[in-house]
Amino acid sequence: MKNFKLGVSVAALVMAANAAFAETEITWWHAMGGALGETVNEIAEKFNASQDDYTITPVFKGTYEETLTAGIAAFRAGEQPNVMQVFDAGAATVIGAKGATVPVQDLLSDNGIDFNIEDYIAGVRYFYADSDGKMIGMPFNSSTPIMYYNMDALAAAGVEPPKTWEEFQSTTAPALKEAGYIPLSQSHLPWIFTENFHSRHNLPFATNNNGYDGTDTQILVNNDAIKAHFTAVSEWKENGMFEWYGTGWGDNQTPFEEGKVAIWLGSSGSFGGLSKKDLPFEFSATLLPYWESVTTEPTQTFIGGASLFAMAGKSAEENKATAEFFRFLTSPEIQYFWHAETGYVPITNAAYDLAKSDGHYDRAPAAEVGIQQLSLPGGDNTKGYRMGFYVQIRDVMNREYGRILTGETSVEDAFATIEKEANELLARFAKTQG
């Protein structure tokens, strides 16, 4: 009974407090589980503590795919959150649905917050923008695929981290194999060996300016450069120079953490997690290798990860709160905090400068690799890509790549299938926009 009374009085107090401040409450649906989710919660708490007018509540909704689907269902029921995190492969879906979101650039300028796209680092500016270069989604957890390596393993084998795939093939891998390691694994074949294969070598990935200029897009994945790459990868696997542990991300990362695999291609955003683990070896990271036979001037890679979209259909007051949250989120201090905790790149130049001047990269040089790679010279094909039903296109790629690596199909047939099915999906997506 005592507890009950106490409960009532606390509830009354809380209500009184809420009434007194009349805070605008907004919600944020995200897909950041585990340690990342805790950092997201910390950012929200920092924002709530930084001022008295707005309260943001982060809600974890599962995987990227689940978050997008939940957001879509909620939008159709008129129950959408104010802020929704959407991953790279879902960008075409959410940006294609004009009226589902408020472009972040408009949201900020309508609420009197300065917006200059030049403040953002080059690599993140246009991935979530429309064809005119207007930023629609606010890049949030921006990452890019980089090469992690076990320093002890490389030292034992007497090799340096490879700069090119030719070097890996002729020097690094044989030495690592000789030293008793599985030389290479990777965690996401569509992302690392397909999308970013095209940007690293500045190859067009789709027609229509990589899909930005319209929906009647055709994928250009069936090209000789990538087919040669996958032919090499399956040969490496035959010779014990590469191993594939299935489509799941973690299944390929675990053998690296266990010290069995010497080089692992993962996300720059994996850095925070790897540093927090007590790995039995020293690790570092460097840029993703490229084929010298394809290009001698390798270019920057795409950002991966996800961005935050302001959902439409909210009151001006709530939109103001969302805009203020974005202002807070892009401040150098918060970006640096997020970058240092997780390994995702800081999205503004100011935050990057802050990290440099604070000596973050002197303490952890590998933390800078992602942003260095995103800041490499760009090309015509390195801005990003925009393709509808891309989640399904990735599923097709994963399926066919799995079949290549288990010997069920040939590289030639697999890419013909991917091209055919992807183009069918793109044509179907074009009709959904009609």
Partner: protein, 293 residues
């Protein structure tokens, strides 16, 4: 004979309304909505849509991948149903003969019934873990380089094994109660006619179990087609890749992951028709041969 009935007309209707409205809201309405959306390609957020007629169906039927998934579903359903029933029947017959400690055996055999499909799938993922799974080690010891999530057939075997393991207890309970409802006098009479216990089983026990068996056949086919979703989802870890999947899982992959509402609606309509055809077939052809006592 006096016929029992309601005195007023509205009372029976009133009593049926709750059940009928549940069926209407949770079955007929979504089913009709699925049929409608299967003729469209629509933006997931609901802004644009194009009427495409039967295109969603024709592209499915001409897709070799969809046919592969269909073939796998048929094989998967047949194997899961067969092994679940056969193992459960064997266990039930053996358990029926046990007199001492019978309750303990039965409880142990029924235990797994309480495990939810995703949990069963998760246990499977651990048992078949690539680096330290005990069943992976076992397979390796007989020279089978088992790779869950990498090799199509290995993943399929693991899915079938876990699905069967999960379903055996349900069948066991029904078979056991079916066996125990066979009158003792019939068994004793059979004992005089036939000394072979194997022969007695096929001539007497099995036909008398047929109604239970038929019921379980339907339940198991439905289970293999639909309820194994949780097992499959956990075993492929949400990433279908080159792993096997069933038709129901494909509806989820294309509709809920891929946001292709039209295409996945067409898939679910196809499934609905398949299930309808299967049910008619079962009741028309199979049930005629079964005699209920």
């Amino acid at each position: 004979m006096k016929s029992a009935g309601f005195t007023t007309r509205w009372l029976p209707i009133l009593l049926l309304v709750p059940q009928l409205s549940i069926i209407a809201i949770f079955f007929y309405w979504p089913a009709l909505y699925a049929m409608q959306s299967s003729f469209y390609l629509q933006d997931p957020f609901g802004f644009g849509s194009t009427f495409v007629g039967l295109e969603n169906y024709s592209s499915l039927l001409s897709s070799s991948e969809y046919m592969k998934v269909t073939r796998f579903t048929v094989v998967f359903t047949a194997l899961v149903t067969f092994f679940s029933l056969a193992l459960a029947l064997l266990l039930a017959v053996k358990a029926d003969n046990v007199l001492r400690g019978a309750k303990t055996y039965r409880t142990l055999l029924m235990w797994v019934y309480a495990v939810a499909p995703p949990v069963a799938g998760f246990i499977g993922v651990m048992m078949f873990n690539q680096s330290w799974g005990p069943l992976t080690e076992l397979a390796r010891s007989i020279g089978w380089d088992f790779k869950l999530g990498v090799n199509f057939n290995d993943t399929a075997s693991a899915m079938i094994l876990v699905s069967v393991w999960k379903q055996v207890p349900v069948n066991f309970i029904f078979f056991l109660s079916g066996l125990q409802s066979i009158p003792k006098s019939v068994r004793e009479a059979a004992l005089i006619d036939n000394r072979s216990s194997f022969g007695r089983f096929w001539d007497v026990t099995f036909p008398l179990l047929a109604p239970t068996g038929f019921f379980l056949l339907i339940i198991n086919i439905t289970y293999s087609l639909f309820d194994t979703f949780g097992v499959i989802d956990t075993m492929v870890k949400g990433e279908p890749g080159n792993n096997p999947m069933t038709l129901v899982y494909k509806v989820y992959v294309d509709g809920f992951r891929g946001n292709d509402l039209g295409g996945s609606s067409a898939q679910s309509v196809i499934l609905m028709v398949l299930v309808l055809a299967l049910t008619i077939f079962q009741f028309r052809l199979v049930e005629r041969r079964i005699h209920y006592t």
